[in-house]
């Protein structure tokens, strides 16, 4: 098992958000986490990535045989956990190239691989740009500065392609994207799917899942997963909304 979350409880500023969440992800699986606003979807993504605003009050997370919660955010990243941000951050004056070369070499060092020099990195990056059908000038631009919403999300997918993580968490990657941008992002993700790589796709709408077909769909509500199923669960949610499932859960 790649990821095993047991009874995870987390809070921010005294407000309890995750209230005992369980989730198992095997290598190569794609899991979708759906749920209404305020259910705790983004909190789950942030806690797994190690954002310090959140305090974990109980529970355990095992990532590829290690205690994930004991690791610093950069250690988690180096060990193969990747977060695609809901709002990718701008870093003026720092080129994508320098940023990603530094990141790739930090990950390579963790894996015991030699650092890539400028030329090797350039070649590697160009190959990934071609794979994702992205603009060649991407590397020269400052990280996310002057990027459209869609470009920022695609830049995150590009970073994912370079870092070759074991687990990709996508935090509402579809928010704010028009249909064309959505398809481009989804194509990028599909190009990166492999039997060794798992995905947790956090989303509010079923739309993205039409393009990235998940193996499992979970409904997150009030800090817990209240229902799990296959892709058909996503279709059901799209048709009936969350109310029915929430009602069933509250009555039970």
């Amino acid at each position: 098992m790649l990821l095993n979350i047991e009874n995870l409880q987390a809070q921010i500023d005294e407000k309890v958000i995750l209230k005992g969440l369980n989730l198992q992800v095997n290598a190569g699986e794609v899991h979708a986490i759906m749920g209404p606003n305020g259910a705790g979807k983004s909190t789950l993504a942030s806690v797994l990535a190690g954002r310090e605003d959140y305090e974990v009050s109980a529970g355990a997370v095992d990532f590829d045989g290690e205690d994930l919660l004991a690791l610093d955010p950069e250690e988690r990243a180096r060990k193969g956990l990747f977060l695609a941000f809901q709002y990718p951050v701008e870093i003026p004056g720092v080129s994508n190239k320098l940023f990603m070369q530094t990141a790739v070499n930090a990950v390579r060092q963790e894996r015991g691989l030699p650092a890539l020099d400028m030329f090797d990195f350039d070649e590697f990056a160009k190959e990934r740009i071609a794979l994702l059908e992205m603009r060649a000038d991407l590397l020269e631009r400052s990280v996310n500065v002057g990027f459209s919403g869609g470009e920022k999300k695609r830049n995150d997918i590009f970073q994912m392609a370079l870092l070759e993580p074991k687990l990709c968490i996508m935090d509402e990657t579809d928010s704010g994207l028009d249909i064309d941008a959505l398809r481009l992002v989804a194509n990028g993700v599909n190009a990166l799917r492999s039997p060794q790589r798992s995905f947790i796709v956090v989303t509010h709408y079923q739309r993205l899942l039409d393009y990235i077909k998940p193996d499992h769909v979970h409904v997150l509500y009030d800090g817990r997963i209240i229902k799990s199923g296959g892709f058909e669960l996503a279709l059901e949610l799209e048709k009936n909304g969350y109310d029915e499932i929430i009602q069933q859960y509250q009555n039970a």
Binding site: A49, G50, R51, E52, D72, P73, E74, R76, A77, R78, F82, L83, F85, P88, V89, I91, P92, G93, V94, S95, L98, F99, M100, T102, A103, A106, V107, E110, S142, Q159, L163
Partner: protein, 498 residues
């Protein structure tokens, strides 16, 4: 009420920045902080007319130079220490400093007025070697004037430069060997009465560099001066004059450092640059004076007057500075654009950390027609420091068609520092075009987390973001200097990233 509300808003911000502040507080690593033990001749502390005369006598100076000193000293005594800068410091006790200190030269026990390149004190030579300053003959394409406390100990590549008619020597030597040039230019750009520290410098000027590039000559290598203050409780008052004749070009660099001391040391320099018709001067500084301990006690007080004049048509003067050291920096490298079509530029990165205070900027005085000036200033404040940009753009009535572009960016690192901007603009000619852009940003937790999530450590992330912020200015520095400046920034910020 509004104030109380703001207090509440600040509380979460404080915890947000706790971690950045922790990183910044890590033991500071001032690599140049070693002290050199050697035989030195140091004057008794204190300043009076006898001291001024003694300095002049020590240097075997002609009467006109002594007269200049005495005139300046008399004027200085009538002046008051300025405190208008946005920097707090107790008034200095000028009687508590020594105004002359020099390594004794082994061969002649200090009796000769000029220094002798053959007789560099081995301890001094070691110090410069440790600082990476090539004071012997070397293959590097740069000529070096090395100044140790009050005197110049070595000037390299002089013979090669002499072939082009370029004079590159210590200021003291220039007084002896090129008195006509020194008399012609000294005090023309920065008169002895200009300001308090310039007057003090004029009275007790120790040594400095003299550069003269003859008409039509493009200086084939960079010229540089390395200033080292070693002796405790000593002031360094160097005087530098740089003259570029018609159609010439020269790139001049200066670097500075000092040992770790527990009392303030005073550095009050005067630099005068004269650029004639069609000539160009590029003047770059990487300043890494000792900033003092955690509270900036014992650091260098850097009170410097640097000014250049574009005397003729199409003259160009470009100042580039990376200021990372000093407890207090008070410095405004300026351009007087007198010749028509002349160009002035100022590129600056000033980093303050801990309790450092920097009040720095420039003055662009447009006199000639179609004169142009560019100001790019990047201020970085971290720790509990204050970083101030103070700049003046003045367009005189005669400056038909003058243009200025100013960009003034500040970056805050942490939540206990300050960034301030005081731009003064005076326009007396309606045809002038002036643009002023300013931004303030800060390294936020979001940026750091984004970097960390990609596997980049917090320290590397800060260094990367800061260097990105300064890129526009560093690209103006000569290559090796740019690298040195980047490394200095990293050291000044974290102490461990190099």
């Amino acid at each position: 009420m509004a104030e109380a509300k703001q207090m509440i808003d600040l509380t979460p911000a404080q915890s947000e920045y706790e971690e950045i502040n922790q990183i910044l507080q890590k033991k500071f690593n001032y690599r140049e902080g070693f002290e050199t033990k050697t035989h030195v001749e140091t004057f008794e502390k204190g300043i009076n007319e006898q001291v001024v005369r003694a300095i002049s006598a020590k240097k075997n100076e002609p009467q006109w130079m002594l007269d200049f000193r005495l005139k300046a000293f008399a004027h200085w005594q009538t002046m008051r220490e300025p405190h208008w800068a946005k920097a707090k410091y107790a008034p200095l006790d000028y009687q508590d400093y020594s105004y002359y200190s020099a390594p004794e030269c082994g061969n002649c026990a200090g009796s000769c007025g000029t220094d002798d390149a053959q007789a560099i004190d081995p301890e001094v030579a070691k110090a410069f070697a440790a600082l990476g300053v090539p004071i012997g003959d070397n293959d590097a394409n740069v000529a070096v004037d090395a100044i140790f406390d009050s005197i110049s100990v070595s000037t390299t590549k002089r013979e090669e430069l002499a072939k082009y008619g370029i004079i590159f020597c210590s200021f003291s030597e220039a007084v002896q060997e090129h008195p006509e040039l020194v008399q012609k230019y000294m005090g023309t750009v920065v008169p002895y009465y200009d300001n308090y520290f310039a007057a003090l410098n004029s009275a007790v000027a120790s040594d400095g560099t003299f550069v003269y590039v003859p008409p039509g000559v493009r200086c084939p290598m960079d010229l540089s001066t390395y200033f080292r203050i070693n002796e405790a409780k000593t002031g360094q008052f160097e005087r530098t004059i740089l003259v570029a004749e018609k159609g010439s070009y020269v790139s001049y660099l200066e670097g500075c450092s000092a040992p770790v001391r527990d009392t303030y040391q005073l550095h009050a320099a005067v630099v005068e640059v004269i650029v004639h018709e069609d000539a160009e001067v590029k003047y770059s500084t990487v300043q890494n004076w000792y900033p003092g301990d955690e509270n900036c006690e014992g650091g260098i007080l850097n009170f410097v007057t640097k000014r250049g004049i574009c005397e003729g048509r199409n003259a160009k003067l470009s100042w580039t500075q990376a200021e990372t050291g000093s407890a207090i920096t008070w410095k405004y490298p300026s351009c007087i654009l007198k010749g028509d079509n002349s160009i002035g530029e100022f590129y600056s990165v000033a980093l303050t950390n801990r309790r450092q205070q920097a009040d720095t900027g420039t003055k662009m005085i447009h006199i000639g027609k179609n004169t142009r000036s560019t100001i790019i200033s990047k201020g970085l404040s971290a720790g509990k420091s204050d970083n101030t940009y103070r700049g003046e753009v003045k367009i005189l009535a005669s400056a038909e068609g003058a243009r200025n572009f100013t960009q003034c960016d500040s970056m805050l690192i942490g939540d206990q520092c300050g960034a301030h901007t005081f731009p003064y603009i005076e326009v007396e000619n309606a045809t002038a075009q002036i643009e002023h852009e300013a931004t303030t940003s800060r390294i936020g937790e979001d940026q750091l987390f984004y970097c960390q999530q990609r596997g980049i450590s917090e320290q590397d992330a800060i260094s990367m973001i800061v260097n990105g912020f300064c890129k526009e200015v560093f690209s103006e520095l000569p290559l090796e200097f740019a690298q040195e400046a980047e490394e200095l920034l990293a050291i000044s910020l974290e102490g461990s990233v190099g």
